[in-house]
Symmetry: C2
Subunit: 131 residues, 2 copies
């Protein structure tokens, strides 16, 4: 019997454009926004690490119980490369992206949606597995 | 004149399979492996955050001066969802993936290669920009 590859994670690849340059350059705001995005996605935030670059730019990653959120900003172009990668049925990476778009006042951008797949896992086995 | 969208980041999406279950469940080993992968990719490691789950599984993210590496493991299936996202001409996310495949003794898997693009940036502007 053929067993379809099992999806273990939902990975949203979001290139945000037209964002507010000051906010994208504000390390504290970026960390607060990632925390809010984790809540919006119904994920559990474990920790956030970040770094502010000179003359501009912030990079930050939020570790989740359900994988991670990341944001790397180029404030001078109103741009941020965002990842929202979550596992489990409950979490919704789309909501994290929506939250971040509003927080950074993004006017446009693109989202690519990936499924992270482990063909070795049957759907039955996957039930209840949270890494 | 048409200006082609500019690539700001190289993002390798690596689903590693057939890995060593003990190593994939060893938080210290995962952190060491991410550190080694950053060096292999010629990237600058800023910090690593991680979490060990019970009964199994490790999640870890390495913040780089050139974006991030992440790894979320399901040791019971010999599987890890790995991201190697780097900016700049010098860094090579393929080398990070190769390093991690060897470190975790992965026998197979899949890599999807994404370009992270900000259409607002001209190639001329991009030169020398490291977030």
């Amino acid at each position: 019997m053929y067993a379809a590859p099992s999806v273990v994670g939902k990975h949203w690849i979001y290139d945000l454009q037209g964002g507010n340059r000051d906010l994208l350059n504000d390390e504290d705001f970026v960390k607060e926004a990632l925390s809010g995005a984790a809540t919006a996605a119904d994920a559990t935030l474990l920790s956030i690490s970040s770094k502010k670059f000179e003359p501009q730019g912030v990079t930050a990653v939020a570790l989740l119980a359900e994988s991670h959120l990341s944001l790397h900003s180029w404030p001078e172009y109103g741009y941020a490369a965002i990842d929202a990668f979550t596992c489990g049925d409950r979490t919704d990476p789309q909501k994290a992206c929506d939250y971040l778009r509003k927080a950074f006042e993004g006017t446009h951008g693109s989202i690519r949606i990936l499924k992270r797949v482990c063909p070795n896992i049957s759907l039955l086995q996957l039930q209840g597995v949270v890494p």
